[in-house]
């Protein structure tokens, strides 16, 4: 896509807390109609990054433009282009869904018939129209989540930022949220989606930035990222016994690229895993480990993450 359709441009974002570099040179862009995923484990710097993008947090250095306008804590005009959905619920429990929407709508400059129309539309989309007059403290967790996202959509932003919107959500609501996000990108809205769920990133995102320890380790489409690790399979083995010895033994097998322990699990990246699987099982048994389960998966973003960081996404 050309420059005319660029919605978000951020470069070299940095934020340090004491000695710790929470964000260390992060940069990426998102174009109109594109869904961009920031995939990384908890504490990787995702929320700090989007806090700087939204102008919620002062950055140490770097540059952020939304729809061509610079945004910062003191630069508030460009905030109108963003719809921000925080990770935690951010709704008033003692107000109704309608009152919540009307209030935030007014803050974004909506008034009169347009405010009413947008409120009605969001209540319909989120399935809360028939409960619009109920205080949100009476809502189920899923309903609150839907309203939380609906507030971000109310003013029809150019860029929707969703910070781990499915954390702590039941499977049914989670699917509903993912369907909604897919629908939004289809309508031409740019979406920045942070998650530590590989499946969500694979399902929703046109491009993914893999972030760890405050740095974007790699970025691209799913295909581009998977190509980073070649045609390698990931083997997940659950073992008991002498696990450390088993890891060392596995690394010695020809065709094994990487082997890392995670609790009682060994994650292995290997060329043509099905061929070398018997050898893997044999060396682990010889090392004193008892194999309790084996799972061979095709290359995916989690394998990429493992390859780039040496650890699993949910460690």
């Amino acid at each position: 896509m050309g420059e005319m359709t660029r919605v978000l441009e951020c470069r070299d974002l940095r934020k340090t807390y004491g000695e710790r570099k929470a964000v260390d040179g992060v940069g990426f862009h998102i174009d109109l109609g594109e869904t961009y995923g920031l995939l990384g484990p908890n504490g990787a710097g995702k929320t700090t990054t989007i806090s700087m993008i939204c102008g919620l947090l002062t950055r140490d250095s770097g540059h952020v433009e939304v729809v061509g306008e610079v945004i910062d804590v003191g630069e508030i005009h460009a905030k109108q282009w963003i719809g921000y959905v925080p990770q935690d619920l951010a709704i008033y429990p003692d107000l109704t869904a309608e009152e919540n929407l009307m209030f935030f709508g007014r803050l974004y400059g909506l008034t009169g018939k347009r405010l009413k129309a947008r409120t009605d539309a969001v209540l319909e989309v989120t399935g809360l129209a028939d409960r619009r007059q109920d205080k949100t403290e009476e809502y189920s967790g899923g309903m609150k989540r839907r309203l939380n996202i609906g507030i971000g959509l109310l003013h029809e932003p150019r860029l929707l930022i969703l910070d781990e919107p499915t954390v702590g959500v039941d499977p049914q609501s989670r699917n509903a949220i993912l369907d909604s996000v897919e629908h939004l990108s289809g309508e031409g809205m740019a979406v920045l989606y942070t998650t530590h769920y590989m499946e969500e990133a694979e399902r929703l995102c046109d491009r993914v930035g893999i972030i760890d320890q405050g740095q974007v380790k790699a970025e691209g489409t799913r295909r581009q990222l998977v190509e980073l690790i070649g045609e390698r399979d990931r083997v997940r083995v659950v073992v008991e016994g002498n696990i450390e010895a088993a890891v060392v033994a596995v690394r010695s097998v020809e065709g094994v690229q990487e082997a890392n322990r995670s609790d009682r699990r060994i994650d292995i990246l290997a060329n043509d895993a099905r061929v070398i699987l018997p050898a893997l099982l044999r060396v682990m048994a010889d090392a004193g480990a008892s194999v309790k389960g084996v799972d061979v998966v095709e290359p995916d973003l989690e394998a990429v993450f493992l390859h780039l960081t040496g650890k699993a996404l949910r460690d």
């Binding site: 919620l56 921000y84 925080p86 803050l107 507030i151």
Partner: protein, 393 residues
């Protein structure tokens, strides 16, 4: 500016809906003011009954019964009932039906006009000590005036000790011009005090104002806890917009609570607040100071609970020091001086100024100025800290 009103309107709706501001700002202070007004002894509302037993019936005793004591009745704090004999009077006093009794013995006038010693007896009751003390003071004042006139007359007559009947009338008329000090003497300081009902209404109003005004800035901490502050800051509104909206919420809550309390205490308790413009200015000053002080206290805390606790301690300390529970008239001088660091003392002082017979709005302006200054200084600090809360979260 529209965003300030939008946020403040939302906050006011929440506070009204949870009733906390109504309870703290209106119901609690009005209830306490009512209780204090009804149950505590009144300094201004003193009233007693006196019996007078005139066994003399002469011209000098008539000075007391026809001139001095009617003045007491006219002053409005006692009724006087003539009683025929001493025993009945003593019985009435003992039964508590009379606060005290004056007994003028037979031959009193003759003794006075002959230059002999004469005695007025006051029959009192230990359960009505104040009535007895006032009766003694009235009698003492009367005796002093009679002595002064007698001495004067005696000197004019060249040392004669017997006063002619014609002279007695003259004594009577001249004695009458001596107003018994305890009855009619105007004490300027007393006349500048509010009535008890007004005092308790005003003191409870200003004390609870410091609890009501805190709801504004306190909601900043509440928004931070429930995550909505992030969303407010993510909207196209600046940090100062959020902070000013919270301050405006506290100000409006305080002002409305004060207005309701003033009207309610006026119409239901009979409080007399004084010149409406002066009261309005004093209320404005009080609300500004309460908003400022509570903003400073709330922003020192990290949680709502902590902020509420600190604000409560501060509000109560200032209220006690500021004389909202008792008048500072009888307090040591240094306490009176120290109280002037509190908006409460200035608020009550301003109302006292308005209560004076000659009190004008201008007399209340110094108190208004001090309260506004306290509010601006503390509020300035509080708002700067509140902005830090918004940005740092």
């Amino acid at each position: 500016m529209r965003a300030v009103f939008t946020i403040a309107a939302k906050d006011l709706k929440q506070r009204i809906r949870d009733r906390s501001a109504i309870i703290m700002g209106i119901i609690a202070p009005f209830a306490l003011a009512s209780v204090f007004s009804l149950l505590l002894p009144s300094s201004q509302g003193f009233h007693t009954d006196y019996a007078v037993v005139d066994l003399d019936g002469g011209p000098v005793s008539e000075l007391l019964t026809s001139r001095v004591l009617p003045g007491v009745v006219e002053a409005g704090f006692a009724d006087v009932t003539p009683i025929a004999d001493r025993a009945t009077a003593a019985e009435l006093v003992e039964d508590g039906e009379m606060g005290a009794a004056f007994v003028i013995p037979e031959g009193f006038s003759e003794a006075i006009t002959s230059g002999r010693d004469a005695t007025i007896t006051i029959i009192g009751n230990v359960d009505a000590a104040l009535s007895t003390q006032i009766a003694e003071a009235i009698a003492t004042g009367y005796a002093e005036e009679i002595n002064a006139v007698s001495l004067s007359v005696a000197a004019a007559l060249g040392g004669f000790t017997t006063v002619l009947p014609a002279t007695i009338a003259d004594i009577s008329s001249r004695a009458a011009v001596f107003e018994p000090s305890i009855v009619v003497e105007e004490n300027e300081a007393d006349s500048k005090q509010m009535s008890d009902k007004t005092f308790y209404s005003a003191s409870m109003a200003i004390m609870f104002l410091f609890f009501t005004a805190q709801f504004g800035i306190l909601s900043l901490l509440s928004e931070r806890r429930q995550g909505t502050l992030t969303r407010l800051v993510a909207a196209p509104v600046g940090p100062w917009t959020v902070v000013l909206a919270k301050a405006l919420t506290g100000f409006v809550l305080g002002a409305v609570a004060m207005l309701v309390l003033i009207l309610a205490s006026t119409f239901l308790l009979g409080a007399e607040w004084g010149n409406p413009l002066g009261v309005a200015l004093l209320t404005l000053g009080g609300v500004v100071s309460a908003t400022g002080v509570s903003a400073m206290a709330a922003t020192m805390a990290k949680t709502e609970e902590q902020a509420s606790g600190w604000n409560a301690i501060l509000a109560m300390s200032l209220a006690i020091l500021g004389g909202t529970f008792f008048s500072l008239d009888r307090a040591p001088e240094f306490v009176s001086q120290l109280s002037l660091i509190t908006p409460h003392a200035w608020f009550l002082r301003g109302l006292d100024e308005l209560a004076a017979a000659s009190g004008t709005v201008a007399d209340a302006l110094p108190a208004v100025g001090v309260m506004v200054a306290i509010g601006v200084v503390t509020g300035g600090l509080g708002l700067v800290r509140a902005r830090g809360l918004v940005i740092g979260r």
